[in-house]
Every structure is written in structure tokens, then in C-alpha cells.
């Protein structure tokens, strides 16, 4: 959820997508302005925060970067629950990663926060010569599903800030507090519900 106060907005954002699609690289580019050719895989999840100004407000993104492999899929709800925004990342040079992205979209539509701002990022746009997924195909899909779409490159920084900026602009400025059950394991009884910081 996003919370507002004195023109400051805290927004939980989650990155989902196939392994190696470039989720961590996008965050790293956005938060630290860096790119690592051999960015190591994400184990479990990582958390970052970054603030940016959009129009009238300052948005502090609390970013959850998840592990991409399907094997860890059961952990994902822990991270997307209560998120105000999601970036679903695929690799334009990998068709399977686009298929995977669609499945994430479906899952979020079913399970996620109904007001969630969703962005589709076609990453590795610098790899034009190895492109497998056309921008057109992705744009059509995004439109049909109410996402906004950008091709990005963590390597060249293309559209990286822009996609976060766009999300910041689209965030609803005030949200009713709902779904406070944050980090609860899927297949274990909740040990108590966690009030997400953004809903307080």
C-alpha cells in the first residue's frame, strides 16, 4: 500500500520475473546507478529503498527484489502481499521469460492488491540483435491487461529511472488501509499478522 503524509509517500514495490531477467540489475541501476556484468543470483530476497520526487510528492520506494527461479515461487506471496506496485520483468532476448512474465501478471491479478500499479519491463533492450520478443507484442499484451509497458536496459540505464518515475506518478495518492497481513508464510499458520508499515 502507499501511505501519504506531508507530501511524502511510502510505497512498497516488488520485482517479479524469470531468473536472470535482470530484476536485481534494474534495482541496482535505480538505487546505486551501477551495473554489474556478473550480478549474482538473488537468494531469498533483497530489500532496497530509494526516494524520488514525482510531481507534487516525494515517493520513497521500498523495493523487494525476489529470486526468479520457479522453485522459489512459493515464497513470492510473502513479498508481493501488500505491495502498492510491481514491476514484472522479462528479458527481450528470451521468449520463455516473457511467458513467465505473463504468469506473474495472472497471479497478481488473482492474488495481489487490486489497486496495485503494475509495470511490465522488457529488459536487456540493448541486446537488439538477440531480440526474441518484439516490443509490439509486449505492448499489446500490456494494454490488454492494464499494465504500462517499457523496454529497459539496466546495462545502458535506458528507461530505468523512467519506469520508477512512471509508477510514482500512477500511485494512488491515498489508500484505504486494507490487507494488513504482510509477511505470512503460505503454508504455515500465521504467527500473528504483520501490519505492513505502509498501511499504518
Amino acid at each position: 500500500m502507499a501511505t501519504i503524509g506531508h507530501n511524502n509517500l511510502n510505497a512498497k514495490l516488488v520485482l517479479l520475473g524469470d531468473m536472470g531477467a535482470g530484476k536485481s540489475s534494474l534495482v541496482l541501476r535505480f538505487v546505486k546507478g551501477q551495473f554489474l556484468e556478473f550480478q549474482e543470483s538473488t537468494i531469498g530476497a533483497a530489500f532496497f529503498s530509494q526516494t524520488l520526487a514525482a510531481n507534487d510528492v516525494t515517493v520513497k520506494f521500498e523495493i523487494w527484489d525476489t529470486a526468479g527461479q520457479e522453485r522459489y515461487h512459493s515464497l513470492a506471496p510473502m513479498y508481493y502481499r501488500g505491495a502498492a506496485a510491481a514491476i514484472i520483468v522479462y528479458d527481450i532476448s528470451n521468449t520463455d521469460s516473457f511467458g513467465r512474465a505473463k504468469k506473474w501478471v495472472q497471479e497478481l491479478q488473482k492474488q495481489g492488491n487490486p489497486n496495485m500499479v503494475m509495470a511490465l519491463a522488457g529488459n536487456k533492450a540493448d541486446l537488439e540483435d538477440r531480440r526474441k520478443v518484439t516490443a509490439e507484442e509486449a505492448r499489446v499484451y500490456a494494454e490488454e491487461n492494464g499494465l504500462f509497458f517499457m523496454e529497459t536496459s539496466a546495462k545502458t540505464a535506458l528507461n530505468v529511472n523512467d519506469i520508477f518515475h512512471e509508477i510514482a506518478k500512477k500511485l494512488p495518492r491515498a489508500q484505504p488501509a486494507q490487507n494488513p497481513a504482510g509477511m505470512v508464510l503460505v503454508d504455515r499458520p500465521p504467527e500473528g499478522s504483520r501490519a505492513t508499515s505502509c498501511c499504518s
Binding site: 531468473m19 520457479e70 510473502m78
Partner: protein, 683 residues
């Protein structure tokens, strides 16, 4: 009464002179000066002993001397120990440090027992164990007088000798005679001192032996054979940790161990002059104010209200009250954020890694490891030199049997090599055309290829384009995914293989060592995550056992799923330490010396180090995960290993009972279908 007493010998020239004379101070006899200097009204000093000393570290050179007193006020008896002001063996022990060890009027109602140690040669000491299970560091009586001390106590309160250990005296301080009787009944095996004090008291406390430390460094006491010996002799060392009677009375206490270690170390240091310079100092410090910290140290009761209580293992206190620390592990520690790597438990000092000469002593003429337990214990405390790892890891991982001979191993290597080639050939023979119709294979290869190119590429061993070692990683992982097709490949596996290939160099050997490792760690990668769940669950139980306030904090903040420790456990801290340090940690974990689950105690140890920061800054799950991920590269492995060892010993059977059977890396309970096959279908 405290403040004034801190100063009361600071201007005592006589005392100062005695200290400067070093060992001369030990022979100075000034026991039982019954000065009742600054006691409050109605308090009477019934016992006073000077030159009672603690050794905050395991080095004889670092000591804090003070005055021990028994004070009677009304019907209650109190113990105090106040360090002398301005007298310090070592500049490192600041005034404040000394302050921390001060025992300020602890009533005997809070004392469970007193253990005495009165060797015929060497210093006498006592260990005071509180009802909470907490114990003060050993108090060394440089001038003797333990017997008189106990006799004085007995005059004022009911003290019974434990039937299980003649050197343990159980305090039974009930004013009400009926209560006292009832309480005695609860201690069926304890017998009153008066009846039982014949042999051992008089035999062990010969006045002529007091204060003697043999200059040749030989400890005569049975429990203290020199720990310097390598080779066979090491196995003879008496290990008090196994002493059941100690265990019963000092369950949550480390002091006995510590006392042994300290004393061994004292003798060792007496032996070799130039100590201190080359060994890293563990500037352990302890606190004093039992009352203040009672809530945080009681592992049995959950305190009603939990302040951010300091803890001995924590690293960077965020307030300047950080020096006061109490613990549930039996000693008191001080943590100074400026001296962060000098602290901690009274655990055994880490040893140098096992080298080739010492390794040879573990093998018989045909190459069998004669004493596997001793080997594992040795590696537990020091690890293995890098050039020996290739050989030793094969035993630790269980690829080679300890009782195999050189010849048998050579043969096995050949057999296994061809077996490896056979499995490898299964995927190598898949043609490109065939692969087109073999999605599962393509996917699997794809996953592996994505990961190997981003595994440890900053190491020279794996760096650069077309690095053959990266290709080996790929081939081994792909072969493994055929060897264990049901488990397949899972992110994190490349992290586990990388160090093995780095050490083994050989493809087939690396594969089989990896197979052995995965026999234990495979469940970490189960699709239903149950291997991880059971470890995270056990971890939460251990924190509950070993750090109640921290547990309560996690509970209140809905962090009990411990997912912030996921990465630590999944890949055995691979991302948390520098490469070389990871190798050391792994070989220590693989010894299974104290527990198969030492890694969970390592988790607890790290969390305890940072507990105050975590609680003080009111970290929620998000912040905690970020904080923990960012600890990568910041953790002092040796210190953590000592802490983990201490915690593991402290937790004892309670700890073991917190970990469900079959929890990885224990071998799985049933060897049926381990990895139920499921499609890697998305969602």
C-alpha cells in the same frame, strides 16, 4: 556501598607494591582482615579476602584483582567482589571494564551453587552459579582461602554439598526451617556439607600448595594436561564438558569450560614468555549488575516486560549503556563498539589450521584415519590448511571412508571417475536435434548456464571469458541434475559447488564431493521448501531458548518466520564471508563435532551480536532483511564460531531437542523418494 568501595584500595601503597612484584603478590597473606569500612548500617563483613582475581580473557597477563567479601545484613548474606581501582595488569583493561565485572551485593537467595576448584598445584578458584544458571567468571584466590570462604558461608546459610560432585556446594538459603526442609527434599542427592566434608576438602586443599604455579608450565591437575601437544596426546585431554555432574548444576553455564581453558592457558603462558604478541586477543569482559539484567539472562522464564537488554554476543551497542551486559550463556560480556572484534565468550581459542605434519599423525601406515572423532574435533577448532583441503575434505564430506586405505581410495577414485563419465555422457550424447524435443533438458541447461556465468566471477579462478572452470561448473551441475534428476538444478547450487571445485580442481572428484554434500543439503532445495522450513523453525526455537528477549522482539514484529536468515541457511553462509573464510566455515560445519546443526547456532550467534541494534532501532521485517543482507562481508568468522560453539554447549540437550530429527543437514530420515517429481511448470 559500591562507589566508595571501588576506591578503597586505590591509595594503598602496600597493595600497589605487592601487585608490581608480580608473583610476590600471590604469597602475600592478608586474609580475613575484618575491616568494616563503609558498609551500610546493620551490615557486617563476615569474610574478606584480597587478591581475588578474575581473568577476563584466557591470557594470564590480563587480570583484574579485587576484594571479595561476604556481608551479612539482617538474616541475609550477600557476596561482593569489587575490583581495585587503578591497578591493572594491562592497559587494555580500563576502569570501566573492571567496573563491569564487579559483583555488587548479590544475595545468596539468588545463588544456586558454588563450585570450587582446588588443585594441589596452581591457583584455587570458585565459580558462583546463580539460580538463573548464569555464572560469574571464575574467581581466583591468589592467596588461597577457598575453604575458609565456604566455611564462612556455611556458618550463615544452609549449604549442602552435591552428592554428584563433591566440589559443588548447593545453596539452600531459606529462612523458614520448614521451607528449608522442603527444599532439601527436592535435592535428594545433595548432602549437607557438614556430613560430607571429609576427604576431598582436606585432601585438595593443602595449605603448602597454595599459590604455586610451576614455572615449567606443567599443570598437575588431572583436567589440565597441556593443550599444546599435537599428535596422539591430544586425545588424552580430559574434557570437562562431558562431566555429567557439572552439566547438571551448570547447565546453562560455560564457566567450567572456561575455567579449564583459562587455567590451561595460564600454564601455557607461563611456559612461553612471549605470549600475547602473536595471538589475537580476546578481550572478553563481563558485567556485574545481576539485578539490572536479570530479565535478560534468565532462559527459563519469560520476563513480563522486556527492555532492550544487552547481550554478551552482540556487536554494536547503540547507546552508551552498552557496556553493561548480561548473558544467559553463563558469562558476562562487555561490548565496546570501538573494540568490536575483541570480545566474547570464554570459548576455546581458535587454533591454527591443521597442517601436513599434524595430519600425518592422524593416519596409520596404510592411510586410515585412526581416530575420526579426534580429527573432526581438531578441524572444528582450527580448520585445515588450504593445500590439505583437497585431501581432508573428501573425508569430512563422507566421499572417502575414514577407515579406507590409500590403495582403496585410489581405486575408488578410478571407479568413480568412470561412473561420473557414464552419467555425464547421458546428457552429452543428446544431440542438438534431440534437444529441440527435450524441453526439460533445455530448461535445465538454461538455468545452469544462467547461473554459472554469475558465480564467483570476481575470483581469478573463475574470471574472464571462456574460463574453463566456469565450463566445469556447468558440466558438473548438469551431470548432477541427471544424477539426481528429481531434484534437478536449483539456484544456490552453483554457490555450493564453486568452493568444492576450487579446492578439488578435478572434475569427477568435485562431482562426488558435491554429491556427498547434497546428500545433506539437498532438502534445502526441495520444491515444497520443507528442508528450509524445518531449519528456520529450529532456528526460531533456538533463539527462543538462547535469547528470550530477542525471540519476543521477533514475535512482536512478526519476524518469527526467520526468512531474513534464508540465504544464510540455504547456501551455508556462502554469500556472507570472503571466499577463504567460507571455506574455513564449511569445513568446521562439516565436522559435526558438537552438532550437525552448528550452522543454526552460527545464525543465533550472529543475531545475538546485533541484537541490540535490531531491537534498539526497532527493525521491522523489511529493515531486518536489508540489514542482514548488508552484513555480508562484515562478520568476524572466528568470533562467531566461538560464540556458536559456546551457544551450542549452553543449549545442550535443550538445543538438540529444539531441532526436529531429520532437519538438514542431518541425513534424511527415510531414504524413500526424496524429491517427489513435479513439473517445473510455472504457477
Amino acid at each position: 556501598m559500591h562507589e566508595t568501595e571501588l576506591n578503597d584500595l586505590s591509595d594503598d601503597a602496600d597493595y600497589a607494591a605487592s601487585l608490581q612484584q608480580g608473583s610476590a603478590s600471590m604469597t602475600r597473606s592478608d586474609s580475613s582482615r575484618r575491616s568494616s569500612s563503609s558498609e551500610p548500617d546493620g551490615a557486617e563483613v563476615v569474610y574478606l579476602k584480597d587478591n581475588v582475581t578474575i581473568h577476563p580473557t584466557q591470557y594470564a597477563s590480563e587480570r583484574i584483582s579485587g576484594r571479595l567479601k561476604l556481608i551479612k545484613q539482617g538474616a541475609s548474606l550477600f557476596i561482593t567482589w569489587i575490583p581495585y581501582k587503578g591497578q591493572s595488569s594491562n592497559a587494555k583493561l580500563s576502569e570501566r571494564d573492571k567496573n563491569l565485572y564487579t559483583i555488587r551485593a548479590v544475595p545468596f537467595t539468588e545463588i544456586r551453587s558454588i563450585r570450587r576448584h582446588t588443585p594441589t598445584l596452581g591457583w584455587q578458584y570458585i565459580i558462583v552459579v546463580l539460580s538463573s544458571g548464569l555464572a560469574f567468571p571464575p574467581l581466583y584466590f591468589y592467596n588461597g582461602g577457598v575453604r575458609e570462604f565456604l566455611a564462612t558461608i556455611k556458618q550463615h546459610i544452609f549449604l549442602v554439598r552435591s552428592a554428584e560432585d563433591a566440589n559443588v556446594f548447593v545453596v539452600n538459603d531459606f529462612q523458614d526451617p520448614l521451607q528449608r526442609t522442603l527444599s532439601s527434599l527436592e535435592l535428594p542427592r545433595a548432602v549437607p556439607v557438614a556430613n560430607g566434608r571429609s576427604s576431598s576438602l582436606s585432601a585438595s586443599e593443602s595449605p603448602t600448595d597454595k599459590n604455586q604455579v610451576r614455572a615449567d608450565g606443567v599443570a598437575v591437575d588431572g583436567s589440565l594436561s597441556s593443550i599444546q601437544n599435537n599428535g596422539r596426546q591430544r586425545q588424552k585431554m580430559h574434557d570437562p564438558a562431558r562431566d555429567l555432574s557439572i552439566h547438571v548444576l551448570e547447565k546453562f553455564s560455560l564457566v567450567t569450560r572456561f575455567a579449564r581453558e583459562t587455567t590451561s592457558q595460564l600454564f601455557r603462558e607461563n611456559h612461553s614468555e612471549g605470549f600475547g604478541g602473536n595471538e589475537r586477543r580476546n578481550h572478553s569482559q563481563s558485567s556485574h549488575d545481576y539485578h539490572q539484567n536479570a530479565a535478560s539472562i534468565d532462559v527459563e522464564k519469560v520476563p513480563d516486560e522486556v527492555p532492550v537488554a544487552p547481550d554478551p554476543l552482540e556487536k554494536s551497542p547503540c547507546s552508551n549503556r552498552g557496556e553493561e551486559a548480561a548473558t544467559n550463556v553463563g558469562t558476562f560480556e562487555l561490548i565496546d563498539s570501538k573494540e568490536i572484534d575483541k570480545l566474547t565468550v570464554w570459548g576455546k581459542p581458535r587454533q591454527p589450521p591443521l597442517g601436513p605434519e599434524e595430519w600425518a599423525t592422524f593416519l596409520d601406515s596404510e592411510g586410515r584415519v585412526t581416530d575420526e572423532k579426534a580429527l573432526r574435533k581438531r578441524i572444528f577448532y582450527g580448520g585445515v590448511e588450504n593445500n590439505l583441503r583437497k585431501e581432508v575434505w573428501t573425508f569430512l564430506l563422507g566421499y572417502h571412508a575414514h577407515d579406507s586405505t590409500y590403495a582403496e581410495r585410489e581405486y575408488l577414485v578410478l571407479i568413480k571417475k568412470s561412473e561420473y563419465e557414464t552419467i555425464k555422457n547421458q546428457w552429452q550424447s543428446i544431440t542438438q536435434d534431440q534437444a529441440k524435443r527435450f524441453t526439460k533438458f533445455r530448461e535445465r541447461r538454461g538455468l545452469i548456464e544462467k547461473d554459472v556465468v554469475r558465480t564467483d566471477r570476481s575470483l581469478s579462478f573463475y574470471e574472464g571469458d571462456d574460463n574453463p572452470n566456469v565450463n566445469l561448473l556447468r558440466d558438473i551441475l548438469l551431470t548432477y541434475s541427471f544424477y539426481n534428476f528429481d531434484l534437478g538444478y536449483c539456484q544456490g547450487m552453483s554457490d555450493l559447488l564453486s568452493p568444492i571445485l576450487f579446492i578439488m580442481k578435478d572434475e569427477s572428484e568435485s562431482f562426488w564431493c558435491f554429491v556427498s554434500l547434497m546428500e545433506r543439503l539437498g532438502p534445502n532445495f526441495n520444491r515444497d521448501q520443507n528442508g528450509m522450513h524445518s531449519q528456520l523453525f529450529a532456528l526460531s526455537k533456538l533463539v527462543e531458548l538462547l535469547d528470550v528477549p530477542l525471540h519476543n522482539y521477533f514475535k512482536q514484529n512478526d519476524c518469527l518466520n526467520y526468512f531474513f536468515c534464508f540465504r544464510w541457511i540455504l547456501i551455508q553462509f556462502k554469500r556472507e564471508f570472503e571466499y577463504e573464510r567460507t571455506l574455513r566455515l564449511w569445513e568446521v560445519l562439516w565436522t559435526h563435532h558438537l552438532s550437525e546443526h552448528l550452522h543454526l547456532y552460527v545464525c543465533v550467534a550472529i543475531l545475538k551480536r546485533y541484537r541490540r541494534k535490531i531491537m534498539g532501532e526497532q527493525m521491522d521485517f523489511d529493515t531486518l532483511l536489508k540489514f542482514i543482507n548488508e552484513l555480508s562481508g562484515q562478520i568476524d568468522l572466528d568470533a562467531i564460531l566461538k560464540d556458536a560453539e559456546a551457544l551450542c554447549i549452553c543449549a545442550g540437550e535443550h538445543g538438540a531437542a529444539s531441532i526436529p530429527p531429520g532437519t538438514p543437514p542431518s541425513l534424511p530420515l527415510d531414504t524413500g523418494l526424496l524429491y517427489a517429481q513435479q513439473d517445473d511448470e510455472v504457477l
